[in-house]
Amino acid sequence: MATVELHKVCKRFGSVEVLHDIDLALDRGEFIVFVGPSGCGKSTLLRLIAGLEDITSGELRIDGQPMNDVLPAKRGIAMVFQSYALYPHMSVYENMSFGLEQAKLSKAEIDRRVRAAATMLQIEELLDRKPKQLSGGQRQRVAIGRAITRDPRVFLFDEPLSNLDAALRVDTRLEIAALSKRLPDTTMIYVTHDQVEAMTLADRIVVLNAGHVEQVGTPMELYERPASLFVAGFIGSPRMNFLTGQLAAAEGAATYGIRPEHIALSETAGDWPGQVTLTEKLGSDTFVHVAADGIGAINVRVEGRCDIAPGTRVFLTPDAAAAHRFDAAGRPIVRAAP
C-alpha cells in the first residue's frame, strides 16, 4: 500500500515552474532515493512533501489523507537537514526533546524516546553536549536521532552526507541503510546528487531532471534499462560512453551507448582500433581512455591493474548485448527479441 502519493504535483516560484506534473506512489517501508543534478528540483520535491513549501497545484497524500493544507508538524514526517539544523544553544538532549514537548507527551515518555534514540545511534554519552562540541558525524547522528524521536511515518533526508568527509560518508551510509532495516514500517525518502548513494541505499530510485521525473525503478532496472539518454548517463560510474555519427547510424540509432565495463580491451585484435591517451589507476580497476579511430574518445574499465602506456595501439570490442541505442529524442530503441 502506498504511504506517499503525489498526483500531478506542480511547484512554481513566481513565474518559474520548477516541478512539472510529478506523479509518484511510494510504498510503506520503501527506501526511495530522489537523485538528479543540482537544480533538478529534488530538494524542492522533498520540501513539498515536508510541507516547508506550498504545493502550487496537484495533490499530496500520506496514508490516503490529503496533505496539501496540513501543517508540517501534523504530517507524521521527520526530516534530517543537509546542515543538520540543530538548535545551537541547546544540549543534544534538549535538541531531541524540544519538538516532543510540543506534542504534549509526558516527561517520562519524552525521556524514554530520547534515550531509546540515543541508544540506537550510540550517542548516549553526548546527551549533555552542545552541537558545537560535536564532530560533523556526531551532529549528523543527533539530527537523525531527533528525527527518530518523532516516530515518523515518513523519514525525509535532504543530502544528509554532503557535509561529511569521504570515509565518514561511507560509514554513515551503511548506518542509514541499517537504520531503515530497523524501522521496516517507516518510508524513507532520501535526496542526493550522488548516484553511488542512490544505487547503494535505494529500494527504488526516482531520477529527476529539470523538474521532470525521468525514470522510477530499482537500481538494477535503471542500470540495465535506462529509460532515457539522461538516465543512462547519470546512473553508473564511470559514465556510459555515448557515440554518435556513422557508428550509431549503422546500429540504426542516433546515439549508441556502451558502458566502460562492457568493452573488452586487447592489444592484438578487436572491432575498434585506437590509441591509449590516459590511464587512471584505482588499484581495483584501471580506467583506460582511448581515442578510437574515426569514433572518438572512449573510456574502458579494466579490472585490476593494467600497466598500458599512453600511446599504445589497442583494440576495443563492445559487448553488443549490453549496448544501448537511443533515438534522436533520447528515448531507448527497444531491441527486438532474439
Partner: protein
C-alpha cells in the same frame, strides 16, 4: 606579544610588524583619550581655574570631600561628594539611562523583528527607520523643542484635539514632564540604532533551525522565546552596553531641550556647568572624574552580571 626564548625569526618579525601596525592607533588613543583623562584626573586634585590653569596647585581630595571647621566648634562637609546637586545629577543620569535604554531595547527589538521579515519595500523602510539616528542631536532636540512648545507646539495641539489633555503642557519647562520630554526625544532618536544592531544579530541566526522548528510544530511565540531570543541575546547585550555607555554621558539633548533644570541635570551637564559656567575648573574636573568612575563601574557590573561574551569565545 612578548617573544619568548626560542621563537623563530619569522614569528619575531610578525610580532614586530604587529606592533608597527598597532602603533598609530595606540598613539592616537593616547593623545585623544589617555592624556585628556589623565589631565582631568590631575586637575581634580588641584585648585585650577580656567584663567589660572598653569598655576594650579595640588590640594589633595578637597574638591571631592572636605571638612570645613567654622572655628566655633561647628563645621560642615564640603566638596563634590557632599553636594546634593551632584547626587541629584547622578540620580537623573541613572534614571535617564535605565529608562531610555530599556525602551530603546524593546522598541528596537520589535522593529528589528519586523524588518527581518520579507516584505515589499523593505529596503525603503529600513532606510527610513534610520532617519532619526542620522539627524544631528542638536537639530532633533531643537525640532522636538518646537514640537513640545507650550503655546505653539504641535504635540499639545494633537493631544488636546484627541482629548488626552485639557490644557497645554509646558513639556520641557515643567519639572514634572522635563525628564519625560528628554526621554521621548532620546528614545525616538536612538531606537533605530538599537534596531540596526539587533537586526544584525537576527541575521546571524541560521534559517534552517526555523524550518526544524516548523517540523517540530513549535508555535511562533515559543520559537521567539526559546530559539530567537537566546540566539540574539549576545548581540542585544552588546547593543545595550553601547547604548548605556552613551546614555550615561548624555549631554547634548538635555543641554538643548531643558537647560538649567534640576529635574534633568545629568552628570555631564553638571560637570560642564562647573568647568566653564561657574569657573570652577578643578571642581568640574572632579565631577568628570567621578562620572568616569560611575560609568566604568556600572558598565563593568553589567558585563559581569550578564556574563557577557566580549571576545566571541562562546557561541
Amino acid at each position: 606579544m612578548s617573544a619568548p626564548e626560542g621563537t623563530s625569526r619569522l614569528s619575531r618579525q610578525r610580532i614586530r610588524s604587529a606592533w608597527l601596525f598597532l602603533a598609530p592607533m595606540l598613539i592616537v588613543l593616547f593623545i585623544v583619550a589617555a592624556w585628556p583623562l589623565g589631565r582631568t584626573i590631575w586637575f581634580s586634585f588641584t585648585d585650577a581655574s580656567l584663567d589660572l590653569m598653569s598655576e594650579a596647585e595640588f590640594i589633595g581630595f578637597r574638591n571631592y570631600l572636605e571638612w570645613v571647621d567654622f572655628g566655633d566648634g561647628e563645621g560642615a562637609w564640603y566638596g563634590l561628594l557632599a553636594d546634593q546637586r551632584w547626587w541629584r545629577s547622578v540620580w537623573n543620569t541613572v534614571v535617564f539611562a535605565t529608562v531610555s535604554v530599556t525602551f530603546e531595547t524593546i522598541f528596537g527589538l520589535i522593529i528589528a523583528l519586523v524588518l527581518h521579515q520579507q516584505f515589499a519595500g523593505r529596503g525603503l523602510v529600513r532606510a527610513a527607520v534610520l532617519i532619526p539616528w542620522a539627524i544631528p542631536t542638536i537639530v532633533s532636540a531643537k525640532m522636538w523643542a518646537w514640537m513640545m512648545h507650550d503655546q505653539f507646539g504641535i504635540l499639545n495641539d494633537m493631544f488636546m484635539a484627541l482629548g488626552l489633555i485639557a490644557e497645554p503642557v509646558a513639556w520641557t519647562a515643567s519639572p514634572d514632564t522635563a525628564m519625560i520630554a528628554v526621554l521621548i526625544v532620546d528614545i525616538w532618536k536612538t531606537t533605530p540604532f538599537m534596531a540596526l544592531l539587533i537586526l544584525a544579530g537576527l541575521q546571524m541566526v541560521p534559517e534552517d533551525i526555523y524550518e526544524a522548528a516548523r517540523l517540530d510544530g513549535v508555535p511562533p511565540w515559543r520559537v521567539f522565546r526559546k530559539l530567537t531570543l537566546p540566539l540574539i541575546m549576545p548581540a542585544v547585550l552588546v547593543a545595550v552596553v553601547f547604548r548605556a555607555l552613551d546614555a550615561l554621558r548624555v549631554f547634548d539633548i538635555v543641554y538643548v531641550l531643558t537647560p538649567n533644570t534640576d529635574a534633568t541635570r545629568t552628570m555631564s551637564v553638571y560637570a560642564r556647568e562647573n568647568l566653564f559656567d561657574f569657573d570652577q575648573f578643578a571642581y568640574g574636573s572632579a565631577a568628570s572624574t567621578v562620572l568616569f568612575l560611575v560609568i566604568a563601574l556600572i558598565t563593568i557590573t553589567f558585563i559581569m552580571a550578564t556574563r557577557m561574551d566580549l571576545e566571541g569565545k562562546r557561541q
